[in-house]
Symmetry: C2
Subunit: 412 residues, 2 copies
């Protein structure tokens, strides 16, 4: 009764907000007997525990209580200096500690960016498909998200231009583009250099902000690193969002934003009222981890570890999946995205798979237009080879059975 009596007081955004489908799926399939290729989480077995333990002890002795005191909203200055230095080495030559804000995970970076740039009714463009964190943050501000196709070169910039033009002509306030340039979640696809340059041009032409979400960029298995959108941006239009969740550990919830000074100042103010400051001990630990050269070492290890798992999964897919299903070979990150023949229903496949104790994520939740029913995402990050082998074989068999449409009620 209390619940009902309050709902008329909910905000518009809260009334329409939908929970993250993936987090729900992950909860559903977290039973130990399930062979899950669903989660996009890194493998906890690879976390640098020994190093963290040693560093924590030394930091306690060195800093005492200061290590657990409130920190500045911007984040530990020495840590920002280190992260700026790393970014300069990556080609972001102008990166400075003062233009950088430490966030409670890169999700918070996107939330703050949306707070600063999105008003109710504003439109942000995003990939079909795309990770839903960006769209979720935009919608939490009352913004709208409009999809643009993603192909093997990443976000289709020709389609983007047409769509933005159409929307602007229709009187829509198109404000920005949300893009994951490297090993995109969920497709694993990397935005080509040509399209990166084109995207920057389009942002200038149509007066857009680019929300560049790059949690996977440092986990490149092969090929050369492409310049970040931010490094191609001389107008301050790119908000560059980074995460330590895939290179260090996710549980410490550490990420950062690098953007034009004015925008960063606005995000700092937004963060003052969002959570005041990021977890202090986690920042100290990361700083020391970087200073001791351990982050570079950890990234190398992760690259080697996840590359081997990717190779194994691709090999298994080649062996067990029918030719009618297609997928990409990601050059980094965690994900392989599968397109079934149109008309086949991945949700149906999911129900049959769960009966066989196998799980993945249906693709539809990554399509802001509700499409993608014939797609699904696999992750090799957390599963071991035995589970990958078992799960891929089961999926291959189920797909080959050329699923007839079944009633949701029946399967549930």
């Amino acid at each position: 009764m209390a619940k009902k009596s309050l709902s008329h007081l909910y905000s518009c955004e809260s009334l329409s907000a939908q929970p993250s489908a993936i987090r729900d799926i992950c909860a559903l399939v977290s039973q130990p007997e399930i062979r899950s290729l669903a989660g996009g989480w890194p493998d906890a077995a690879e976390f640098p525990l020994e190093e963290i333990g040693r560093i924590f002890e030394a930091l306690m002795a060195e800093h005492g209580g200061q290590m657990f005191q409130y920190g500045s909203t911007e984040g530990l200055r020495d840590l920002r200096l280190e992260l700026a230095r790393r970014m300069r080495n990556e080609g972001l030559l102008k990166a400075k500690a003062d233009d950088l804000l430490i966030t409670h995970g890169s999700a918070q970076g996107m939330q703050l960016a949306a707070q600063v740039f999105v008003d109710r009714g504003d439109v942000v463009m995003a990939g079909l498909p795309t990770y839903f964190g960006g769209p979720g943050a935009v919608r939490a501000r009352g913004g709208k998200v409009v999809g643009v196709p993603v192909d093997r070169q990443g976000l289709d910039t020709t389609a983007l231009k047409q769509e933005v033009k159409r929307l602007k002509t229709a009187g829509e306030r198109v404000k920005g583009v949300y893009v994951i340039p490297n090993f995109q979640n969920p497709t694993g696809v990397t935005l080509s250099l040509k399209r990166r340059r084109r995207l920057i041009q389009l942002a200038d032409e149509f007066d857009l902000i680019i929300f560049e979400d790059d949690p996977y960029g440092e986990l490149r298995f092969e090929g050369r690193h492409l310049p970040s959108l931010k490094s191609l941006d001389d107008k301050g239009r790119v908000v560059h969002l980074r995460s330590l969740s895939k290179t260090f550990v996710p549980g410490m919830r550490l990420g950062w934003v690098y953007a034009a000074k004015g925008a960063v100042r606005k995000m700092v103010v937004a963060k003052q009222f969002a959570d005041a400051a990021t977890n202090t001990p986690s920042q100290y630990i990361l700083l020391e981890f970087i200073r001791q050269g351990l982050l570079d070492r950890q990234i190398k290890r992760n690259i080697s570890y996840y590359r081997t798992k990717r190779d194994f999964m691709l090999e298994q897919m080649k062996r067990h999946f029918p030719a009618a299903a297609t997928w990409n070979k990601p050059q980094g990150g965690f994900f392989i995205f599968v397109y079934l023949p149109t008309g086949m229903d991945a949700a149906d496949l999911f129900r049959r798979a769960v009966e066989r104790k196998v799980a993945f994520v249906t693709g539809q939740s990554f399509f802001v237009d509700g499409g993608g029913r014939h797609t699904f995402r696999l992750s090799y990050a957390q599963a071991d080879n035995k589970d990958i082998q078992f799960a891929v074989r089961v999926l291959g068999k189920l797909i080959k059975q050329n699923l007839p449409r079944r009633n949701i009620e029946k399967a549930a």
Copy 2:
């Protein structure tokens, strides 16, 4: 140039957002030679370092990588069970883990509550003065904050009723009341039991949400604990916000929200897109700290420690401040609020004090109506007795000199 070219793309809320004046003052006065009574931070010398170090080591051995993995958005279930148990012992008899959300500090709790309940233009009532975190979170949603006087019994509920009536008659959408019931920041005042009951009645009468922000309640030095607003609420109108920053450590950024089930579900969805989940190792550490009975012990220690400091500061104020200045005796928490004779300017006092290497927080930043120029806040939490003695003596002398109005430019 980049900065200018982006400002037309800022959101309305971001354009009008003001940085927290206190965080700026704290930065200004963080030089070691300053005797500061400004910060509202707990004393890092009191943090339970040895216990944290011991617990961390044991947890690493027990949980391994899971301790650094992503957690659920709701927070560690065992921790929610412990916090619910504690709340039941406090008189919140129906508190259940499922109606509880772990947040990245109580600031995030307020942000999520505002996300769920505040639309652009909605009005939330707040004390004159009040801590600005609540108003900041409301304004970040485009909401408006209207002040209601605070006296020695806390928020003036008679004035509240009149003001809400007036606003509703004028067509305003009054949505809620933000209140810090115990040892309020900045006044140190506690809301009387009579007014607590009255506030619940008014919320029913005017269909309001009560944002009950209670970071200090457990630090009661004397007298009996008063029932929380949430414990008097049988309609689910109270969003109860709690913090571990003053009872455990602030740097781990741990707080929680307890509210009606439907509202908590909405806040969980909002948090999925705000930062996905709260820092995992900090939650594990807190859980173990509670399980070992250390939180209760720490709270007892803190009460004794801060009570002694409060007593010392009150004694010094009695000795050095002129009769024309008035202040309260807080029964807990960190703050004493000083009213100078009307016409005197605390900002002027501040400038003179800083010249003498003494700092505090001017009261004006706590008044959403811009009033309170003749008030200021002192905190005994972080300063040692020597600094308290020095600072209070200097302030007493400066106040007695009956400050003439001076030009801001001149003093700066």
